[in-house]
């Protein structure tokens, strides 16, 4: 199952809920009215958040009408960008970075744990329906490799033990606090040398 192909089972209808509508209004204010279709990307992301992390066709149509632009244009945008999921994913959508720095620091072990704990294949929703995982390219947090992203949060400086805890918590729908798992703050260096000098 690919996240970039339109899913077989589509909901009939979609419309923004009150919260999303308010946000959509705010988003529209950022663009001149004659170019309101520029808001297509944030609105698609808004729809994705509202609809359990994926965008159904009905949402694309809804957004197209909302911004008075052709369906195909919204469809083009939604299929182009990797962060839009066009098929259902878990409530906790785990993206494991497997680009070189993370891989050197043991991302393959995280992938292995995902396979064991969540589902044997990528983009497959776990049996209890809460999680799914995917391998992705660099998420720009190489300094705290290996890492993974769960929905909008980064879990950094992982090892096997911590990853296992995180995955368990996600499966139980009680996610742990995101951030560094070696206690670092803002990717600062961990050790201060005995002479008191800080090392960048």
């Amino acid at each position: 199952m690919s996240l970039k192909k339109v899913h077989d089972k589509q909901p009939e209808n979609f419309s923004f809920n009150e919260d999303s509508l308010r946000k959509a209004d705010e988003i529209l204010k950022r663009y001149p009215t004659e170019n309101k279709k520029s808001a297509v990307m944030p609105l698609l992301y808004l729809a994705q958040r509202q609809n359990e992390n994926w965008i159904p066709l009905a949402a694309m149509k809804y957004i197209a009408n909302y911004l008075s632009m052709p369906y195909i244009s919204v469809y083009e945008v939604a299929t182009f960008y990797t962060m839009y999921n066009l098929a259902p994913v878990g409530k906790h959508f785990i993206q494991v970075c497997t680009t070189t720095p993370c891989l050197i620091r043991g991302a393959d072990k995280i992938v292995k744990l995902c396979k064991e704990k969540i589902s044997p294949n990528e983009n497959e929703i776990s049996k209890n329906g809460t999680c799914s995982w995917i391998e992705v390219e660099c998420l720009g947090a190489c300094v705290s490799a290996p890492m993974m992203q769960v929905n909008e949060d980064y879990y950094e400086d992982l090892n096997e033990k911590d990853t296992l805890k995180i995955l368990d918590s996600l499966m139980k729908d009680k996610p742990l606090k995101p951030g560094s798992f070696r206690g670092r703050k803002n990717t600062s260096p961990e050790k201060i040398q005995s002479d008191g000098e800080k090392h960048a």
Binding site: K4, L57, P70, Y71, I72, Y75, E76, F80
Partner: protein, 683 residues
């Protein structure tokens, strides 16, 4: 004018041109895939790379604006290497299945790879495979061949005005498709086949029919509507295999409508090939002698006012003149060509043509449609309206509701009272109209068909004349007729009398005619009641169904003839093929009747028919040119006003004439339009 140096040759160019256009001025050919004169610039195929002085990298000439003092080189080893590199990338994923590809022989990629292709590929990975897409009954897809030039996407969005094609995915996974693989809801959809530089989009009805070099090409015109699009008819032996557009910037630019292109399979079906005579209420095969004998016998037994003739929608001027001469021999004046009772004033030329001209639309600053749906009645003209809307954002208004026209417009009234208010300067809109410099009014047949038809036309004309919008510089009065023959036959005065009233229809309804001669006329509504009907035409359609005698004649691709398009432009339709079976050209059939009638000295000759018909055309200037402008000071015509709805009669676009009704492709299009799903019983 600024100057640019191309391969050392200095050349002047207009401001705003691109390097590629400047190169064309210097007669230097630049290879290209994505660039097309009539579409916006994409610059994504990179085939048009050229060398520019002071630039370390080659530049894409189609997207680079030309500037003063630029030095361009197109014939250096550097350029060749760059283009070869681009070509190698384009061919990396291209299947190279030319032997089984319909584009073979007229493929841009094939032609250009001859000059820039490398003899072997360094691409050892697997080629990507893309699934076929469904794009409707006209377009066959083989998307593995696609090189992503996006010409089709730009055409659909810009020219056709139905943004339904797009590129989904990205990089290696990019695919061209219609939204959810539905067929395009456009009358211009098949033009993407011509635009496609490779074999990704090819013609479905023409699939594996012939190779381009086997076909005989005839440059002719189209008669499916009154626009007179310039086309090329390709034939294999006598069979018309396909119809393609010909460039004519005054009329159809580079496009033709789907009906023009795909009605041609109707030329092979339902054809009348030998004369038929109705015996015991059943049509029986017969021969020419018998049929002509019977006709002449019938006519001689009748009084001349009991004989009537109706000329059809695709009849050329010469044949219509021959028909008129035949009726002069019968001493009958009961001639008509209109299918519906719409008002027409044949006194002067500007009364029945599209005076602004199709190209002139681009100059206008306001368009008012009166009871007309140009999208279905004259598709190419509608494309020009859309083009003008896109370029100048002109305001378009309509009396009556024509539905989706591919551009926004405002309905300013649905009743004739609104038109009256406009004419009497009682509405806001009148002032807006008068404040513009080059407005135009397009009056459709639906408006002229109303009881107030005469009022609408004469008063609008008067309104325009008073306000000086009808003159040699700008003529805002336009009539949009629907049939290819209408303007020409109005010039020939194929009417029962000078006034062009509806006496023919009245007499027809009162059953005063005992003998009705239909010349290719299938759209006339007749309730048969004892009349003797002769149908002369090419297809077994509505007319032939009623007929007592059927005379088979040639279709428009099978005889030479002149047609006058809605602008009053005379164009020649040329013979591309031969009439089927025993069918003959229309004027030859008249000659058989004339001889049998005993008027041997009045036998028609084609050359003299042509000469005489050109003499009959009012304000004629030259073949392929617009007529001269001439305004005679006619007396004011008294008109009567009726309050009624401006109903725009829906034209069944894919089934508007006997050829398109016989076409399988057209009926498939119609099925899809009406959302009738195939039941599967036909297979």
């Amino acid at each position: 004018m600024p100057k640019i140096s191309i391969n050392g040759k200095e050349i002047e160019f207009e401001k705003g041109m691109t390097v590629l256009q400047a190169c064309e001025l210097a007669d230097v050919e630049i290879p290209r895939f994505c660039y097309h004169e009539k579409l916006s610039i994409a610059g994504n195929c990179r085939m048009c790379l050229v060398e520019m002085e002071k630039s370390a990298k080659p530049i894409a000439s189609c997207a680079m604006p030309a500037t003063e003092g630029m030095k361009i080189k197109t014939n250096t080893a550097f350029v060749e290497k760059a283009r070869k590199g681009v070509m190698e990338f384009l061919l990396a994923n291209h299947p190279l299945d030319c032997p089984v590809c319909d584009q073979g022989g007229e493929c841009d990629l094939q032609d250009q790879s001859l000059y820039y292709g490398v003899d072997k590929s360094r691409f050892v990975e697997n080629k990507r495979d893309v699934k076929e897409k469904y794009m409707g009954p006209l377009i066959k897809t083989q998307m593995t061949r696609c090189i992503h030039c996006t010409r089709c996407v730009r055409f659909a969005t810009e020219v056709a005005g139905v943004p339904e094609i797009g590129a989904i995915g990205r990089g290696e996974n990019m695919e061209i498709t219609t939204y959810l693989e539905k067929s395009m809801k456009s009358e211009l959809s098949a033009n993407v086949i011509d635009l496609c530089p490779v074999g990704a989009l090819t013609s479905k009805p023409y699939a594996f029919e012939a190779r381009p070099w086997e076909l005989n090409k005839t440059e002719t015109i189209d008669v499916m509507d009154a626009v007179g699009s310039n086309v090329r008819v390709d034939t294999y032996n006598w069979e018309v295999k396909r119809v393609l557009p010909r460039l004519n910037n005054d009329i159809n630019e580079e496009w033709i409508s789907d009906k023009t292109r795909y009605s041609c399979d109707g030329l092979l079906k339902q054809r009348l090939d030998i004369p038929y005579i109705k015996i015991n209420n059943k049509l029986q095969k017969s021969n020419w002698d018998e049929a002509i004998d019977l006709i002449v016998k019938k006519i001689k037994n009748l009084e001349s006012n009991q004989i009537a003739g109706h000329v059809g929608d695709m009849t050329n001027i010469e044949n219509a003149l021959g028909f008129k001469k035949l009726f002069e021999i019968f001493n009958s004046k009961n001639l008509e060509f209109r299918e519906k009772k719409f008002y027409i004033n044949p006194d002067e030329k500007i009364n029945y043509i599209f005076n602004t001209s199709i190209k002139g639309i681009e100059e206008s600053d306001l368009v008012l449609l009166v009871g007309s749906n140009p999208r279905h009645e004259a598709t190419m003209l509608n494309a020009r309206l859309r083009k003008t809307y896109l370029q100048k954002k002109i305001k378009i208004y309509s009396f009556g509701d024509p539905g989706d026209l591919t551009y926004p417009y405002e309905i300013i009234g649905k009743k004739t009272d609104d038109i009256k208010k406009f004419i009497n300067m009682e509405s806001e809109f009148s002032k807006k109209f008068l404040s513009t410099k080059k407005p135009m009014i397009i009056i459709g047949e639906s408006a002229l068909e109303l009881k107030s038809g005469k009022y609408i036309f004469e008063e609008l004309k008067n309104f325009l004349r008073i306000n000086n919008f009808v003159n040699n510089g700008w003529n805002a009065l336009n009539i949009l007729v629907q049939n290819a023959s209408t303007v020409g036959l109005t010039d020939l005065k194929i009417f029962p009398n000078q006034k062009a009233d509806f006496s023919f229809f009245d007499k027809l309804n009162k059953k005063e005619f005992k003998f009705l001669y239909l010349l290719g006329s299938d759209n006339l509504e007749i309730k048969k009641n004892g009349e003797f009907i002769v149908y002369q035409g090419s297809h077994g359609d509505k007319g032939a169904e009623l007929a007592d005698i059927i005379l088979p004649s040639a279709a428009y691709t099978e005889q030479n003839g002149l047609y006058e398009n809605l602008e009053g432009r005379i164009q020649e339709c040329k013979k591309a093929s031969y009439p089927i079976g025993e069918a003959k050209e229309d004027w030859k059939i008249f000659n058989m009747i004339i001889k049998k009638y005993g008027e041997n000295e009045k036998v028609l000759k084609f050359e003299s028919l042509r000469k005489e018909s050109l003499d009959n055309v009012a304000n004629f200037s030259e073949i392929n040119e617009l007529p001269k402008f001439n305004l005679t000071d006619t007396n004011k015509i008294t008109t009567e006003f009726f309050s009624e709805d401006v109903q725009i009669k829906e034209l069944n676009y894919y089934f508007s004439n006997s050829i398109s009704r016989a076409s399988k492709t057209m009926s498939e299009c119609n099925h899809i339009r009406q959302k009738i799903k195939k039941t599967g019983t036909n297979n």
